[in-house]
Subunit: 160 residues, 2 copies
């Protein structure tokens, strides 16, 4: 990481900008590592892993709309990933129990087993990647991020 | 942000995983806001803005290889963005001063003016988005991230 996104900071840049570029550099570095490892060790992608993680939490499955919202990707992408996972027998589509016009996506038993196996390994990667902080520091940053997240939830997009 | 990537955390998840998902949720939220605002206010994209930011720092321009490394995108993307910015008169390609087989990309004077205008507005957005932390908290998080970044630089990809 000799020259990364932080390399564009110049001496007179504002504190907030420097902090943001460092936050982004760390997050990108971790995400790139996880993406590489998922590909090499499980032959899968981050969007596929993220979708299976959302489905693993839900016994009743999620609608395409719920998946799109939680994954913050376009409906088109969710449909494409669902098609792939369905072809591999990892998810299935069912009519929504209370709204027959809606389609629910669920993990199959094989999908749930495959996800749980990946998730255990993924967690070890995260433990290792965040080992630059001890437990106390992790707690501190976790609380500081809670404060930032509350602020961000109150920051309306200028669109609306 | 009623249900986002953090919504997949369950009670027995490890501290590191919870921290990572919160870090990712905050960074994604800020990046999405910046992406939306760049599109609406300047009709541009985050990769275009990031490339112009790297070029703005360099008087002599950067090679395509340097741009790829700094932007962590594929060479193909850098070529595509350079083509677009060149067609709009914002960057130009020149033979590299010391290596005639290499091509340097530089901001044109119009490109530099356009970037500086966007950058000033961008910085105000970042100040606003990070206003959930006061100056002291910003300094703390900045230092904690330095520690994490050092650790990440020493964490080799399992590939090599």
């Amino acid at each position: 990481m000799s020259a990364d996104i932080e390399s564009r900071v110049t001496a007179d840049d504002h504190q907030a900008l420097k902090l943001w570029l460092r936050l982004l550099a760390c997050t990108t570095r971790i995400e790139d590592q996880i993406r590489d490892r998922l590909r090499r060790e499980f032959g899968t992608t981050l969007p596929r892993f993220d979708m299976m993680a959302q489905l693993d939490r839900s016994q009743d499955g999620l609608t395409m709309r719920e998946l799109s919202e939680r994954l913050m990707v376009t409906g088109g992408n969710v449909t494409g990933i669902t098609d792939q996972l369905e072809a591999e027998g990892l998810v299935e589509r069912q009519a929504h129990p209370s709204d027959r016009r809606s389609i629910n996506v669920l993990l199959t038993p094989a999908g749930r087993r495959a996800f749980r196996k990946m998730a255990a390994t993924h967690e070890q990667w995260v433990v290792e990647l965040l080992a630059g902080w001890n437990a106390k520091e992790k707690t501190q940053v976790y609380e500081q991020l809670a404060q930032l997240k509350t602020h961000l939830m109150n920051t309306k997009s200028k669109e609306s």
